[in-house]
Symmetry: C2
Subunit: 217 residues, 2 copies
Amino acid sequence: MRIAELSRQSGVPVPTIKYYLRENLLPPGELSSPNQARYGEHHLRRLRLIRALVDLAQIPIAQVKEIVAGLDSPTLPLHDQIGRAHRAITPTRNLTTTPEAHTAASRQVDDLIRSRGWTIEPDAPALTTLVDTIAAMHTLDHDYLTTFLDTYADAVEKFTTLEITAVTSRQTPDQIAESVVIGTILGETLISSLRLLAQESISAHLWTGHPAGPAGD
Amino acid sequence: MRIAELSRQSGVPVPTIKYYLRENLLPPGELSSPNQARYGEHHLRRLRLIRALVDLAQIPIAQVKEIVAGLDSPTLPLHDQIGRAHRAITPTRNLTTTPEAHTAASRQVDDLIRSRGWTIEPDAPALTTLVDTIAAMHTLDHDYLTTFLDTYADAVEKFTTLEITAVTSRQTPDQIAESVVIGTILGETLISSLRLLAQESISAHLWTGHPAGPAGD
DNA sequence: GTTTATGGATACTGCTACTATCCATCACGA
DNA sequence: TCGTGATGGATAGTAGCAGTATCCATAAAC
């Protein structure tokens, strides 16, 4: 397959494909002559993955690059694959909260982790985000929202176990690596849109007095 | 309070505050003379909210503008407030998936909504995202991930009910409006980081053979 | 009464994610 | 074999976003 065909099948414009090739998001095609290259199914799959990450999950190109670099060397154990994906989707933020709110939030998070028996490395990317978010809720005077922390954790634990076992039951290392990325990243947009739909439905029932509640009747 | 003080207390540079004023993210200060304005607690709160949305939740300035515009007219019923927040955080995407994957995904989503008894307007912003995400999982050959849809929905329903009742139990309409925004948007970053931590912990236990599981023992 | 800060306007900057152009080859049908 | 169009690779240009920087007439503070 030549570049025009790759473009047609993926829906990605040729100049954009060239850009992805330049940025090493896409491995180069196999050269048959100094200026002729062939692309295969692998390129098409990769291109679709890139577009899903960019368009749907809104991951910056630089992070997508990290992610696919990880896919091309799938010799890492699962735990490290996951860590890599997490690092790629967790932006480095410059915190704005006051030190007091931050330490209070830290303590709250530590308690949570301890009470649930979680094993978290202190430099886990999501840890900073969680602490910052809770600290922000404090400084915004809406810290009552953090009373649900344990309920959230309960819910989240439930499906995460499922996800991980499903991912590990994939056949080849490449499939596992891809599953980690797709499951972690697209899984997030999926869950978040489900949450919005649930909010929509529940608030519709409460407000418009619709007969049946979303939890069934 | 003058602008320098506002800047000091919020940690936001003066030129940035001026930018937010220009863009109407921040209401103008009260003019005491043609070129002197005073800012109050309200401005400080608003500024902190803006930074939380921008820095933590990565919401584009244009959407933050929509969100705070909604806060300044909190006469809408809760359901509409929620709808507004949802619209603000759901980017308009140009879908890339094939029509077949899209219709298959649509059917799957319709089934889910029906089986759960949810009431969803057909133009709900999250609906498109959910369909697109599932369609992407199909085209990426990882549609087995959608077998958890119901488990996700279960989990999500559980805490969403809590959230909504908590938000409605706030005192004033302004507080409710703010709660909707913070709960919906910062709630999302909170849940997503909790999910990442749970993944991290569970994979650590599975892989490194750590004695106690995260679900307790 | 001089130094500093302010509000408002306008212009500029750095970054990201592409697009556009160019050109020397290469493929392929007439 | 010739000519037209596509290709790979390089380089340059663009649009949008989120601020920054500068300027200036006026006001505040000491």
